[in-house]
């Protein structure tokens, strides 16, 4: 057998190994009930959950808790997933500043003692271009003062 063949076989073996490991490492999009089931089965694998924030009629987010004076690294909120199941989520980081204006939220993490511990939050904000956004007579002010 030629050396190049041996190299070829090793490369293919490694490539298969890479694919297997990637499949093992890949996370999944699940609902909260599935996440709870996973945790009950003792599976600590981190999953993705897509959901929306619970808001009242005025558009205020309900059940949000962030008090930087007590602990700047603790943020908790309630997310309702695609099946409308509500779940408390804890994120051990400062509250993302554009959190209030987000529509859809994707979180990564797992369930622990009845709360979902998120280690990543991805916010989907409303599209930049909405048709009635443009107003006559002026450009939009781009800033608010801090």
């Amino acid at each position: 057998m030629k050396k190049t063949h041996i190299i070829g076989i090793i490369i293919i073996a490694l490539a298969i190994g890479i694919i297997m490991t990637t499949a093992g490492d890949a996370s999944t999009y699940v609902s909260f009930s599935e996440a709870i089931e996973l945790a009950e089965d003792g599976n600590n694998k981190k999953v993705h959950v897509v959901g929306r924030l619970k808001k009242d009629e005025q558009g205020h987010i309900l059940g949000m808790q962030y008090d930087p004076l007590k602990d700047p690294n603790y943020f908790s909120f309630i997310l309702s997933d695609t099946n409308k199941l509500e779940q408390r989520v804890v994120y051990f980081n400062p509250k993302p500043q554009d959190f209030e204006r987000s529509e859809q939220v994707v979180i990564t993490g797992n369930m622990k003692n009845d709360v979902f511990i998120a280690d990543k939050i991805l916010l989907k904000c409303p599209s930049k271009y909405t048709e009635n956004e443009i107003k006559a007579g002026e450009g939009k002010p781009k800033t608010a003062s801090l």
Partner: protein
């Protein structure tokens, strides 16, 4: 008035460029069709060339028109309205040119025209077949910005679309179809950075340059010239790999400096999409070197050159088709071009794979067996490792694509990217780094030595000794705390990476010195490898041993719930209250802004905001370093988006100040950018992670009334305020009160004693048109507001209302990144090595352009000399 001329001119140029590309592709194809290389049909060739030149002129016309629209603030055009604004400085107008997808396509098209012209000029023999490929690519790219609708089929998205055509349902256009907005939406503030002016053109030049070797490879297959194409393609492949690498690093540096995820690389799909073809291009450079010496690895070279270009197309498809959806933070907005992008990609996949299959058997392959003592074998393995590294990143990055594909064939899947991306990629890429470092050191030494055991072990001895010596030294320095401590038992893979990268540095250094004595030009490869090893060393320490400095020691109230998940990375800093963290004494000292004409930042407290957000009044003289720049009451030009937070660090008697930045953006919320203090052995990286609600009004306590006389004091929480006197005034904070006769304004002169500083405070009491008015004054540092409520002329006492609010604070994160500078230096070293190698290969390809079948004699001679 809406100026439709410039848009029509631009749009016409797009159509012309598209048509000219079709004509050029066809003509060049016909010129070379059934003709051997170098014997093209002249009339067709001249026609192809003419059409390409028309195409180039049309492309310049598109760019000129689009730039004119942006430069002249023609907001009747959607592109200018959505990417630019009146206050944007000229150099950022260049960046907003390519902020949108259309503009970045245009940039890519532009580089192709430049490279195409160079091919026409310098590679006459190959002109027809390579330019046929070029023009074919241009046809697809210009179609992306065509903006033509045929029935239901939309081809391309034109950058010249008018705002009213973009949003025909907007009520304002129903009222007045000729409405032109007065200002645009502006450039994404994160992109207002000098790196964003040069990073996209560099990266797209790299993309464009990858087309050159691809075009040569296809031309070689087509014309049956299976080996001759390598010579002209070689320097271009190195050039593409170098430029793409520089472009990637520029993007990484921008991310390090502007974003706040705490590093330079985040394994985001958009970053990966460029990293993958870069690795395969570098692998292609190496197999080309192997071919030059031993006539082997030709088929692999073909595959790698072709795959690199196809991966560039795949990267384009990934980032621009919207397929990444939730997976990436910063892919382009979806323009609905995914079908077109897919066609573009599919066309070239089919073309390239078809050509390969058709000609595969005819590509000469050697039957020569490689021995373990031949350097070529080890270089080949190195190239294979690079490809495996690329494959691994590709396999993971494509996860969203699998979902879409399964959805397309009717199966619902829910695969997501790994939750711990950094862990996932590091697991593989660390070993790619180890293998590459070890192989580059070993193969480099073998390459220029006679393939004999003894010779090689002699040459390896000194680098190996130095490697072990320095590794031991670094581990020891880690033990005594002078360097980051490497835990040998737990972090043994880091130790291996340290060993191999040091070995790569020393063996390539020894090779570099040997080669430099013979001929400096030969040492390019060794230098590039040293740079690569320095980058690995820098990554090892800066990413592996990045340390959070801002550990939060208070407020662990909630975290007790989950002790193992506890995160203390962010710390709360009250204004003017020093906090100690990891040996640093840190104080947050206030909010500052940029003022035009003043070199340093100016405290917000002395800037009185006006109706126009870009203007402010000076409430006090602006003095810096003994020079007065503005007087009280002057109108200043400010940049309102950016607030800089003054954070003072003290350590071992040394004091320095960092200015992390936060931008408040209507669409994107708070955008925090770090400020970085560079030391020789580490960077101190600091960013604001949260601030008190910027949108909400401050909440003040209930007003407390105090009736006092001159020289009396008021106690406010922990502070003491003293009333020193009263004086008549006609203006408040630089604003004229327009007092008429009988009106009066009195200003109290008070001083508040804070922890570190005294503050002057001047509340004003006004009687104007027989009405009382009060203008309170505030000490933001202390969270105090005082109102001058009344004057009691009989008692000679004055009444003041005092309110307090929460003091200002920031929540901040700070990290130390050891030896990150080694990585940036490594980039320069690597690029320098690349340039030397390109210059040398370019000379070779010119010196010997007749045929590619035998090894250049010059080279053989040189090598003999070295070996001797």
């Amino acid at each position: 008035m809406i100026n439709t001329f410039i848009g029509d001119l631009g749009h016409l140029s797009v159509i012309l460029a598209f048509v000219a590309a079709i004509v050029s592709a066809l003509a060049y194809f016909m010129a070379s069709y059934k003709q051997p290389l170098g014997q093209d049909k002249l009339d067709w060739k001249l026609m192809g060339r003419g059409a390409f030149i028309v195409h180039v002129i049309a492309v310049l016309g598109i760019i000129g028109s689009l730039f004119e629209i942006i430069y002249s603030h023609r907001y009747e055009y959607h592109y200018a309205w959505s990417h630019s604004s009146n206050h944007l400085p000229t150099h950022y107008m260049i960046s907003c040119f390519w902020e949108g997808q259309e503009g970045s396509f245009l940039l890519w098209i532009f580089w192709h025209t430049i490279l195409g012209l160079m091919l026409i000029k310098f590679n006459r023999k190959w002109e027809a077949p390579t330019m046929a490929v070029f023009a074919f690519v241009q046809l697809f790219l210009t179609s992306m910005i065509l903006g033509v609708v045929i029935g239901d089929l939309k081809i391309g998205s034109s950058p010249f679309i008018l705002l009213r055509d973009f949003m025909p349902d907007a009520p304002v256009f129903k009222l007045d179809p000729n409405f032109i907005p007065k200002d645009g939406n502006g450039l994404n503030p994160l992109l207002q950075n000098y790196w964003m002016v040069i990073h996209p053109p560099t990266l797209f030049l790299g993309f464009a340059a990858a087309l050159v070797p691809f075009a040569f490879a296809i031309a070689g297959l087509w014309k049956g010239e299976y080996t001759a194409w390598l010579k002209p393609a070689f320097p271009w492949t190195s050039f593409a790999a170098m430029i793409m690498g520089v472009g990637i690093i520029m993007g990484a540096y921008w991310a390090y400096e502007t974003l706040n995820f705490g590093g330079y690389w985040n394994w985001d799909p958009v970053e990966n999409a460029v990293y993958i073809p870069w690795l395969t291009l570098i692998a292609a450079v190496h197999t080309m070197v192997i071919y030059k010496r031993s006539k082997s690895a030709l088929r692999t070279t073909y595959l790698l050159v072709i795959v690199s270009f196809l991966l560039v197309l795949y990267a384009t498809f990934l980032t621009r088709s919207g397929i990444l959806g939730n997976a990436s933070v910063h892919s382009f907005t979806d323009l609905g071009l995914s079908g077109q992008l897919f066609t573009y990609m599919a066309a070239f996949f089919i073309l390239a794979i078809g050509m390969m299959v058709w000609r595969w058997k005819k590509i000469p392959a050697t039957q020569k067996e490689l021995t373990t003592y031949s350097a070529e074998l080890w270089v080949f393995i190195g190239a294979a490792v690079l490809c495996l590294g690329a494959f691994q990143v590709l396999a993971t990055t494509s996860i969203p694509v699998y979902n879409s594909f399964m959805g397309f064939i009717g199966l619902k899947t829910n695969a997501a990217l790994p939750a711990d991306q950094i862990g996932h990629y590091t697991k593989f890429q660390l070993w790619v780094g180890v293998a590459i470092a070890a192989l580059s050191g070993y193969a480099q030494i073998m390459w220029y030595r006679k393939n004999e055991k003894e010779n090689i072990s002699n040459a390896l001895a000194i680098p190996l000794i130095l490697t072990f010596l320095f590794s031991a030294l670094f581990l020891l320095l880690g033990k005594i705390g002078w360097m980051p401590a490497v835990d040998i038992t737990k972090e043994w893979m880091y130790v291996i990476l340290l060993l191999t990268s040091l070995f790569a540095i020393f063996s390539n250094l020894s090779m570099m010195f040997t080669l430099m004595q013979k001929k400096i030009a030969l040492s390019g490869g060794a230098i590039a490898h040293i740079g690569m090893a320095m980058i690995l060393f820098g990554i090892l320490y800066s990413a592996g041993y990045s340390k959070v400095v801002s550990e939060n020691m208070s407020g662990l109230l909630y975290s007790r719930e989950f002790p193992d998940e506890m995160n203390r990375d962010n710390v709360l800093l009250w204004r003017n209250q020093t906090t100690e963290m990891n040996g640093y004494k840190v104080t947050y000292k206030g909010q500052f802004m940029e003022v035009k004409g003043v070199p340093e930042y100016v405290n917000k407290q002395i800037l009185f905001p006006l109706v126009d957000p870009y203007k402010a009044l000076a409430r006090a003289d602006i003095k810096q370093n003994g020079k007065t720049y503005f007087k009280t009451g002057d109108t200043l030009e400010i940049i309102p988006e950016n607030t800089y937070y003054e954070v003072e660090y003290k350590k071992d008697g040394e004091t320095f100040t960092l200015w992390p930045r936060a931008q408040v953006n209507e669409e994107m919320g708070l955008l925090a950018s770090p400020d970085i203090k560079m030391f020789a052995n580490r960077d101190l990286y600091t960013h604001v992670s949260s601030i008190p609600q910027p949108d909400e009004e401050k909440e003040w306590s209930e007003v407390k009334e105090h009736l006092i006389g001159i020289k009396d004091t008021i106690f406010i929480n922990d502070y003491v305020a003293v009333l020193y006197g009263l004086e008549k005034t006609t203006a408040v904070q630089g604003i004229d009160l327009n007092l008429a006769e009988g009106d009066v304004a009195v200003q109290a002169d008070m001083k508040v004693f804070g922890e570190n500083k005294e503050y002057h405070i001047h509340p004003v009491f006004v009687i104007k048109d027989k009405l009382m008015g009060r203008i309170p004054d505030e000490v933001e540092d202390l969270g105090i507001r005082i109102t001058f409520n009344n004057i009691d002329p009989v008692m000679n006492k004055f009444s003041f209302g005092v309110e307090t609010t929460q003091k200002d604070y920031i929540i901040m994160k700070a990290m130390e990144k050891p030896f990150i500078s080694i990585m940036w230096i490594g980039v320069f070293v690597m690029t320098g090595g690349f340039i030397m190698a390109i210059v040398r290969r370019n000379k070779e390809s010119k010196a010997d352009s007749s045929d590619g079948n035998d090894r250049p004699k010059v080279m053989a001679k040189q090598r003999k000399k070295i070996v001797a």
